[in-house]
Symmetry: C2
Subunit: 560 residues, 2 copies
C-alpha cells in the first residue's frame, strides 16, 4: 500500500529485535541469579562474560557471521551459552539431534553446511567414524565433563572451557538485521528424511514475548513469574527446548540443566534446586511419576506444560494427585514451536475434578499475535462449535518461513498464505482448540474419516491400558481399517483381551463418542511401543512393521 508515513530508520534509533537484547533485563535486575549445571553455578553476570569470551574465541578460530555452528551436546549451561553467543555473533546455531541414527545426523550436518561442530566427548565414538564424510566441518570443539579430555582421532580446534579462558569477555556483539538467521535444526519428522527449518532473531524474540504474555497474564495466580526456577525436561536440541531457555533468561529465572535424561536426575534436581517450572512430553511425565523414589519427592510446587503428544487423562489424574499443575500445549517444529497453550482460571481449578482433567488435556489457546484457523480444503473457516473439523492453519510472526533447500515443500507449507500444520482439529466457541488427528494419521475407511487419536483416547480410558497406538492398514474393500496396538499394566495381562477392548470401544460407539466405523478389526498386545527421538510413539515404524493386508472383503467390525 502506498504510504508517505513509513519511517525510514536511520542508525541512531533503530532497534532490531535481536537475541542480544533479551539480556538487558536479566543483567539489570537479576545479575546474581544463577544458571546451574552439575557443580557449575554461574551468575547471569558470569554468563554474560562467558558469552563474550566464547564469541571472542570462536572469532579467533575464524567463525564469521553467516557461518553455521553445530552443537551436539546434552542439556547443559554450555548449550544455554551457545543458544545466545552463536546467534549473537551473527552466526547460525545448529542444534543437532543427538538421538538421530548416524546416517541421518550426517545428512543434517551436511545439509546446513555446518563448518564448526561443538561436540560433547560422549559423542566422539559417534562422530569419529563420520568425520571423513563431513567435508564442511573445519573445526571440532570438545565439550567435556570428565576429569581428563579423552584422546580422539578428530583434528580438535579447542576445548570449550579452555576457549572461554582464552577469549575476551569484552567482545562487542554487533548489530545486524533482525531477520538474520539465528538457528537451524531438523524436524524429527515421522516420514522421510529429516526436514531442516530455521528461525531468525526476530522470530525467536517475538515467540518469547508472545508466549510470555500468554503465560504471564493467563491466571490470577501468575502461571510463571520471577520467583520461578526453570528446568527443561524437553531436550535442548528440540526446537530450542520449546524456546523456554530464551524466555527464562529474559525474565531472569534461576535455571537448572540436567545433562542426560534420567528420571532420578530430574527428581533430585527438582528437590535440591527447588524447580517450579518445566516442560516435557507425556512419556517423560510418566517416567517421572513411576520412577523409584518418586513418591519421596515433593512435586506439589511444579508447574508443567506438556506437549509433543496428546496428554492422556490417567496421566493427568496421576500428576494432579502429586500436586503438579499440569496443562497441555500444542506445537510443532515449524511453529518455533508454540501454536497453543492451555490455562485454567481459578474457578476451573476449584470445581469438579473430572471436568478439570478434561480442561487440562485440551491443547488450549493461541497466544497473542497468532491467528489460528480450522479450514476446509478450500481454506474456508469451519464453524467454531467444537465439532466441525478441518486442517489447523496459522499465521504468527514466529512461524518457520520454509524448509531448508526444499522450495516445493515450503510452498506447500504456506499454501494460501497460512502455515499448514498437517493436523486436523476443531475450535470451541471460546477459542480452545481440539486436535482430532494428524492429517496423515487419519484413517480413511469407506468414505468415513476415523481419528486415530480419538480411538486411542477411548482405549486409554480403559483401566489397565497404559498406552495405545492406532494406525491405518490397507484394506482392499474399505481402503483402510484401524489396527490397535495396546500396552497393558502387568497385572491386567490376563484379564484384558481383544474382546474386552472391542467391547469397550463398542460402549463408546453406543454413547456416540465415536463412529461405528472406528470399531477395530485387529487388536494386538505389545510389550513396548517404538518411540521417536523426542519421545512420541513412532507411527512411521509401526506402519512399516504392520503393513499387512487384511483379507479382501473383510467386514468392518461395527457393521457385523
Amino acid at each position: 500500500m502506498p504510504n508517505n508515513l513509513i519511517e525510514i530508520t536511520p542508525s541512531a534509533y533503530d532497534y532490531p529485535l535481536l537475541i542480544r537484547h533479551l539480556l538487558d533485563t536479566p543483567l539489570a535486575r537479576s545479575p546474581d541469579q544463577v544458571i546451574v549445571y552439575r557443580e557449575h553455578r554461574h551468575t547471569y553476570r558470569q554468563f554474560r562474560h562467558r558469552l563474550g569470551s566464547l564469541a571472542s574465541a570462536l572469532t579467533d578460530l575464524g567463525v564469521k557471521a553467516g557461518d553455521v555452528v553445530a552443537v551436539l551436546e546434552w542439556d547443559s549451561h554450555r548449550y544455554h551459552e551457545c543458544y545466545f553467543a552463536i546467534p549473537m555473533m551473527g552466526a547460525v546455531l545448529q542444534t543437532a539431534n543427538i538421538a538421530l541414527p548416524p546416517e541421518q545426523l550426517l545428512y543434517t550436518l551436511n545439509e546446513t553446511g555446518a563448518s564448526t561442530l561443538l561436540l560433547n566427548v560422549d559423542f566422539l565414538p559417534l562422530i569419529e567414524p563420520l568425520a571423513s564424510r563431513l567435508p564442511n566441518v573445519t573445526r571440532f570443539i570438545l565439550l567435556n565433563d570428565r576429569p581428563e579430555l579423552p584422546a580422539t582421532t578428530l583434528p580438535v580446534a579447542g576445548e570449550y572451557e579452555a576457549l572461554i579462558e582464552s577469549g575476551s569477555p569484552f567482545f562487542v556483539f554487533p548489530d545486524f538485521d533482525e531477520r538474520t538467521r539465528a538457528t537451524t535444526f531438523h524436524t524429527t519428522g515421522t516420514t522421510g528424511q529429516p526436514k531442516g527449518v530455521y528461525f531468525s532473531h526476530r522470530q525467536i524474540v517475538l515467540h518469547v514475548l508472545a508466549t510470555l504474555v500468554d503465560i504471564g497474564v493467563a491466571t490470577a495466580q501468575g502461571r510463571v513469574h520471577r520467583d520461578d526456577v526453570y528446568m527443561p525436561m524437553t531436550p535442548m536440541f528440540h526446537v530450542h527446548s520449546w524456546g523456554v531457555p530464551y524466555s527464562a533468561t529474559l525474565i531472569g529465572l534461576k535455571q537448572v540443566y540436567a545433562g542426560r535424561y534420567a528420571p532420578d536426575v530430574f527428581l533430585r534436581l527438582i528437590r535440591d534446586e527447588g524447580v517450579t517450572f518445566t516442560t516435557c512430553v507425556p512419556t517423560i511425565l510418566q517416567m517421572l511419576l513411576n520412577a523409584p523414589g518418586s513418591e519421596g519427592v515433593d512435586l506439589s510446587k511444579l508447574k508443567m506444560i506438556v506437549g509433543g503428544a496428546a496428554l492422556p487423562r490417567p496421566l493427568v489424574k496421576a500428576a494432579l494427585e502429586r500436586g503438579i499443575d499440569v496443562c497441555a500445549a500444542y506445537g510443532q517444529s515449524e511453529a518455533c514451536p508454540t501454536l497453543t497453550i492451555m490455562h485454567l482460571s481459578t474457578a476451573q481449578t476449584t470445581g469438579d475434578a473430572d471436568t478439570e482433567v478434561e480442561l487440562r488435556i485440551k491443547p488450549g489457546y493461541a497466544p497473542p499475535l497468532m491467528e489460528l484457523r480450522v479450514v476446509d480444503s478450500d481454506m474456508r473457516d469451519v464453524a467454531h462449535d467444537g465439532k466441525a473439523t478441518g486442517e489447523i492453519v496459522a499465521r504468527a510472526p514466529w512461524l518457520a518461513t520454509g524448509y531448508l533447500n526444499d522450495p516445493k515443500a515450503s510452498e506447500r507449507l504456506w499454501a494460501g498464505r497460512y502455515l499448514h500444520t498437517g493436523d486436523v482439529g476443531s475450535i470451541d466457541l471460546d477459542g480452545a482448540l481440539h486436535i482430532t488427528d494428524r492429517l496423515k494419521d487419519i484413517i480413511k475407511s469407506g468414505g468415513e474419516w476415523i481419528s486415530s487419536i480419538d480411538l486411542e483416547d477411548i482405549i486409554l480410558r480403559l483401566e489397565g491400558v497404559t498406552r495405545a497406538a492406532v494406525i491405518g492398514i490397507h484394506d482392499d474393500k474399505w481402503g483402510e481399517r484401524p489396527l490397535v496396538l495396546v500396552h497393558l499394566l502387568p497385572e491386567f495381562k490376563g484379564s484384558i483381551g481383544r474382546d474386552e477392548i472391542r467391547a469397550h470401544v463398542k460402549r463408546s460407539v453406543e454413547k456416540g463418542l465415536i463412529s461405528k466405523f472406528a470399531m477395530p478389526d485387529r487388536v494386538e498386545f505389545v510389550d513396548a511401543l517404538p518411540l521417536t527421538s523426542v519421545g512420541k510413539i513412532d507411527k512411521k515404524k509401526l506402519r512399516a512393521e504392520y503393513r499387512v493386508q487384511l483379507p479382501a472383503g473383510h467386514m468392518p467390525a461395527a457393521a457385523e
Copy 2:
C-alpha cells in the same frame, strides 16, 4: 554487517507487527467480554464489527492511508474504537489534547495537517471559532451523547453512530509496513510550544508486548491477568492512555471508559463495574481518596500504576490503608510512554510498612527489551550504586524516533544513539531507578546541584503539607536559589509557617538527607498550585509568576 542468511520476506508468510493483529486473541478467546461506556456495553465481537463499519464509512468519506485523522473526545468506547480503526486503515490517529488552550490546540492540528476531525459536540464552542484557521480540515465528524445533535456552524460530514450504521462491518483492513505511522500527538511540554511525536504500528505492538510481559510475570500473585477489569484514569489523549487500552484489548479484558474526569464517576464505576486495574497521576489518586463518599466504596481490589509525577509517601500510605495495590511507574511522551514500572515481590508486601512505602514510590525497573542507562555528559555509565547520578538515557524498540518537523530537536533527543529523557537519576544494584530531577528543574546554586524533587519530597514529609513545589529563581551571587511553594491542609494553616518549614528542612540537612545548599531562602504559602493539562504541577507557569530576583549577595540560608 554482510550476511548471506538475511531472510527476504515474500508475501506468503510475512507478518508485519500491525495494531490489527492485537485483535486475533480477544476475538478468539473473549468474544463476549464487554467494553463499557455509559449505557453502551459492546462485546468484542460487536467492537470488531464497529471497527469495520467505521473504517468503511471513513473510506467512503474519502479518508485514505497516510491521512491524519484527529480526535477531540472524552474517554469513551468511541475513542477506543478510533485507537484501532484509524491506524488499522493505514491512516494516522491524532489524539488531540482537549485541555490545551485554543491557540495551542490550533497549532497542533495544523502542524500534523489533520484533514479529518472527529469532535465531541461538547467541543463545538471551542472549534467553531477556530474552524476558519484550520485550512486542512475538510471533514468534521460529530461524536454525541445528547438526545439531540446540537446545531453547529461547522460543515459536518457525519455523526459517528450514523456513520457506523452506514458502514460495512466486513471492511477488509489492509496489510502494510509495520513501520507505518499509526498515531501522533503533542507533548504537553513544560517549555515552549507543544512538540509533536509519532509512533508506528511496530512501536505500539512492541510496547504492548514488553510491558505486558513485565507486568504479567512480575509477581507470584499475577499483577494483571485475564480476570481483571480495566478503566483508565489517565486521559486517552495522553500517550494512548499509556498504551493500556491496546494492552487491555489484546488480553481481552472487560474495559470501562468514564467520559469526563470526575472522582464521583470513577468511584461509581469502580463499584458498579468491578474495576480492578487502572492507571493515574498522583493528583487523580488524591482526588479519588478525598472525594465525598469515597470511604463507602471498596477499593481493596484495585491495582493501580501511578506515573506522571513523583508519588508522595503520604498518598501511598493513604492508598494502602484503603487496600489499593499502588506502585509507581516512570515514563514520558517520547517513550510511548513506558520507561520503568515498579513491582513488589510477595516478600516485600508482607514486611515492614515503611519499607514497603519506600519501595512503592520507586520508579521501578525497565521492562524487557529496554536498555536503561544513567550517564555523564560524555555518555559514560555512572556506577550502579544508587548514589551516582547522571542523565537517564534509553534504547528500546518503542521510543519516539524524533519530533514532528523538528530535525534539530530530534537529533538532540537521540544524541549518542540513546534517547535522552532530560531526567537525572541513579540506578540501584538491582536495576531499580531513582529519579533525582528533571535536568531543567535542577537548581544550580554556586556550583552545587540542588534537586527540586528531593527538596519537595522532604517538605512533603512534614505533616500538614499536601503539596510542595520548588523552583529555581535567579540569584546574582549564587546563580539560582530554591523558592518553595507550600500548600497546607486547612487545619495546619495557623501552625506551620516559614520557620517550621525551614526548621524541618534543616533537620533533613543535619541527617544528611540533602545538601545544606538546599535550605530554602524563600517559602511561600499558596491556596492552589497550577496544574498542566495532564495534572502535573505546572512549573513553567510558576517560574513565570515568581521570576523575582533576590537581592544581590543574599546568603544561602544553610550557610548563615
